[in-house]
Amino acid sequence: MDDLGFFTPLGINSFSQMVGNSSSPSDRGAYVMHSGTATPLGTLGCCCPGSFATSVNDNGEVVGWSLLTNCVNQHAFSGETAL
């Protein structure tokens, strides 16, 4: 049983790469977590934290959604993580 801290993991691929969202009150950003290291995925906005990663496949492709620069609307995003 591993404790991954303040994180809401919504997806995991066959290489144990996990994606999700920080559950820390000061950071609502999307992250990839692998082997104990959390890497931020960034945002489509600028100044309002709010991006969610929901799934990662075995090619390392990540999808989710993010607030835009107007801090109101959200768009789907795709990204990738190194395998």
Partner: protein, 234 residues
């Protein structure tokens, strides 16, 4: 886009996840079209699609006794499903990350035979954790989710309580045999089953794996255009 329909007698459904074999999990029941809240008669489903995308099987996933909603969030290629059971009226999917739900919850696992387990009862006892929501499961049987750790903090967890046996090194032999290797755990009992449609399964063999690695050959495969195999362990 194809309409997958609902469980019998329902009017609304939402698909939540799909695996590489065309098995889809989601919710079926009745939804409030204004608030998108499910009425408490919603049920988790597992639909199996054929290669054309037609639903050939509709299974109602058992709900945890006492829960209002038992929701499947993820399915792996072995057909293992994870999710969460909630108590209280009204459930809204579409934002599972929607910051910690304040309602009581319990993490769930439906195994490859659709049998329901409270995830808390299949992890080693004495862990000190209360697992509340299981968000995802990969093809190795690793599960990630949210729970309350022994210090009382709401944290993410990673656990592999029921490692899925792996079928690997598959090959067709010149004589028409289909051969593959089971990668499991030494000392465990395994059943190998086969199916042409992922719905009706026939047992081919039962054995105790002494080494954890066993080669298997299916001599009857040459008569079939496609056949699925699975390994079960009690």
């Amino acid at each position: 886009m194809k309409d997958l329909g609902t469980l019998a007698g329902d009017i609304d459904s939402q698909a939540i996840a799909v695996n590489a074999n065309g098995q889809v999990v989601g919710l079926s029941g009745q939804i409030n079209s204004q608030s998108f809240l499910w009425h408490t008669n919603a049920h988790g489903f597992l639909f199996t699609l054929d290669p054309n995308g037609t639903v050939i099987s509709r299974v109602t996933l058992d709900a945890l006794p006492g829960s209002s909603f038992s929701v499947p969030y993820s399915i792996n290629n072995a057909g293992q499903v994870v999710g969460a059971a909630y108590v209280g009226a009204g459930f809204r999917y579409y934002d599972p990350s929607g910051q910690q739900s304040s309602r009581p919850a319990r993490a769930l696992l439906w195994d490859g035979l659709h049998r329901l387990h409270d995830l808390n009862s299949v992890i080693p006892s004495g862990s000190g954790w209360v697992l509340t929501e299981a968000w995802a499961i990969n093809n190795a049987g690793q599960i990630v989710g949210t729970g309350i750790n022994p210090s009382g903090q709401t944290h993410a967890f990673l656990v592999a309580p029921m490692p899925a046996p792996l079928l690997s090194l598959a090959s067709s032999q010149p004589n028409g045999q289909f051969r593959f290797t089971l990668l499991g755990e030494p000392g465990r009992t395994y059943t190998i089953q086969a199916s042409t449609n992922l719905v009706t399964w026939t047992t081919l063999t039962n054995f105790v794996s002494t080494t954890g690695t066993n080669q298997f050959a299916d001599a009857t495969a040459s008569n079939l255009s496609q056949r699925f195999y699975r390994a079960l362990s009690p």
